[in-house]
């Protein structure tokens, strides 16, 4: 961020700085995550088959997955430095690492791979019921485990986390909209000859995510592992709070594939919402009758494709209108404004997952007690349904306003204050449509995961 006033730097607090420079960070969090992960793996592969009795299902789909967007928004990709898979990657590399350069096609098409794998996993969850099946969860975890180990064995740094992890696209988009950033002081860095932050030194390895902090404009890949804080001999690194979504309007380079995922996510979040609604099965039957098909999976696939394609088509339509004023190419303008829907994506996902956390939150306690042979009974809800619904409405409204504001700021920073309203108007209409659809989806009660 090229702000004129000096940003707040949390590393100026000696306690924070010494903690982040110590080996305790992020090790202490990694150990905790690893212990929970080990239990989750065993439970997913060998625990009870009923999801309501399985700790892995509760820990993964009621707590971890719903909390992820919140973590990304508040702390950027901090989770990625704690994630057990990143540690597994490091260990595999230490033991067997051939440390090869990442192939060009992975660098070039990494984000598309992430997009496609994310879409495939979301689709397959609905077809094969991964979330409802502890063994399904186990299969996904084992495949990821193997993928992380294999890439760690062959390629340098955290190739999996940076280029392949299917959550990478979502995590980078949400982290970019978030409230925290790690940046370097470019004035100091320009005088640095060693670039220890990238290369590493005796204090810590270089950036595992292939980032050079002085050149970093986005928080898409930074996982706040603090390696650069440990290795920098000039104390050039700062960690600062920032206005949410500000990164989208201050960036100099927009990526089509990031925007594409953001827009597709509008549809995916919508599909996730409607499949959890009690009216979903009758809706699917209606589609089957309408199209004259008798296979529920085909009906869902058609719905899924339409839900993903519709937002893309709508944003392209808005772009086609706005480019008359801006004179930009369709692809460039699409890439720039696609980021505007991220706040609404995030809000939709938070609202959706809020239900799982608050309506099924006690499942984590019940299933945890189940590990010790105790069977708990009672309501799984932490708060009542109407309370959750009000919170969901609030989130969707906040997300819609966030997206409107982001679209306006993107237009303003790219085309000036004079054109900002007219350029952003077509996007306003589309964002309001997305917001209304999301709002309506939450007026109907959702089904539970457990």
């Amino acid at each position: 961020m090229s702000s004129k006033k000096t940003p707040i730097n949390f590393l100026k607090y000696s306690l924070v700085k010494s903690f982040m420079k110590s080996r305790l960070y992020p090790g202490i969090f990694q150990w905790m995550a690893l212990i929970v992960f080990a239990v989750v793996m065993v439970e997913a592969l060998a625990g009870p088959l009923a999801p309501s009795e399985n700790f892995a299902t509760a820990a993964t789909w009621i707590i971890w997955f719903p909390l992820l967007p919140v973590l990304f928004f508040l702390f950027g990709r901090f989770w990625c430095s704690v994630c057990p898979f990143s540690w597994i990657s490091d260990i595999s590399q230490k033991l067997f690492g051939a440390n090869l350069k990442v192939p060009n096609f992975i660098r070039k098409y990494g984000l598309w791979t992430v997009d496609i794998v994310f879409i495939f996993i979301t689709w397959s969850d609905h077809i094969w019921g991964i979330v409802e099946s502890p063994r399904g969860t186990g299969v996904v975890l084992v495949l990821m485990f193997a993928g992380v180990m294999i890439t760690g064995m062959f390629f340098e740094r955290r190739t999996w986390c940076r280029y392949i992890c299917f959550l990478g696209g979502v995590s980078s988009n949400y982290s970019r909209s978030g409230m925290l950033e790690l940046r370097a002081n470019k004035d100091i860095c320009q005088t640095c000859k060693t670039k220890d932050c990238y290369r590493g030194n005796d204090k810590a390895p270089g950036c595992p995510m292939f980032e050079l902090p002085m050149a970093m404009e986005t928080s898409a890949s930074c996982n706040l592992c603090a390696n650069c804080i440990k290795t920098c001999p000039h104390d050039s690194i700062r960690i600062s709070p920032r206005i949410p979504t500000s990164e989208f309007w201050s960036q100099t380079r927009a990526h089509f594939e990031e925007s594409f995922l953001a827009i597709v996510l509008v549809g995916i979040v919508f599909v996730q919402n409607i499949t959890m609604l009690d009216v979903y099965s009758s809706f699917l039957e209606w589609i089957e009758q309408l199209l004259g098909i008798s296979n529920v999976n085909i009906a869902f696939t058609i719905l899924f494709i339409i839900a993903m394609a519709a937002p893309v088509i709508l944003i392209f339509t808005a772009t086609a209108f706005s480019k008359r004023i801006t004179g930009e190419t369709l692809a460039n303008a699409f890439a720039k404004f696609g980021y505007a829907v991220i706040p609404l994506d995030l809000a939709g996902m938070l609202a959706h997952n809020l239900f799982h956390i608050l309506a099924e939150g006690k499942a984590i306690y019940f299933t945890l007690m189940g590990l010790f042979g105790m069977h708990m009974e009672g309501t799984m809800a932490l708060v009542s349904d109407p309370t959750i619904q009000i919170m969901q409405y609030f989130l969707v409204i906040a997300g819609t306003f966030g997206s409107l504001y982001t679209a306006y700021r993107i237009a303003k920073s790219n085309y000036g204050a004079g054109k900002a309203w007219s350029v952003s108007m077509p996007y306003f209409i589309i964002v309001i449509i997305f917001g209304l659809v999301n709002f309506l989806a939450f007026t109907v009660r959702m089904g539970m995961r457990m």
């Binding site: 009870p48 009923a50 067997f96 690492g97 502890p134 186990g138 019940f366 069977h375 009974e377 799984m380």
Partner: protein, 201 residues
Amino acid sequence: MNYRGKPLKRVLFYLALLIFMLSFAANVLASGGHEDIKQEEKVGNYQVTMETQPEIILANEKATIKILVKNEADGQPVIGAKITNKATMEKSNSTSSGMSGMEKEADMDEYVETVMNERSDMDMEPGTYMAEVNFKYPGNWEQAISITSSLGESTINFPVSVSESGPNYAFLGIVAGLVVVAAIVAGIIKKKKYAENGGVL
């Protein structure tokens, strides 16, 4: 970085061999248990044969229920019938220890209702109807298959036993085998790089 050349390679080789043998054995064992079983019953004007695939049905994994419906009088296949399968399990039949756990399940029997579709594929006998059923819990389920056709309406019961499944060792073995092979290849590349760079990685 430490590099432990030959001993490491040897250990990995034998480990890979072991895992491959285990996964092969597991695959053979796993495939051995997937034969069909048949149950035959007569009800009303119908003669019904039911098969399940796989033979050992596992909880929370899809199983195919296939029935062949014939006219009991002349043995001709019954085509164009409307058939539904309502599988029910009383909670007392569950072999799952924690079934009484959650609020939403309290005092409820489990049931799955599916429509059985007629199959007219070349390799299927006429009068064959199939459906995929996901039995959520292990235990004894009762399938009430209702048949409606010009021969009248009848319901026939077929019991089915659903087992609790453990880890899929074949899958785990194959994945572990792949990881070991990758480790061997990565080790070889690492050794080559080590030699090319004069003992420095």
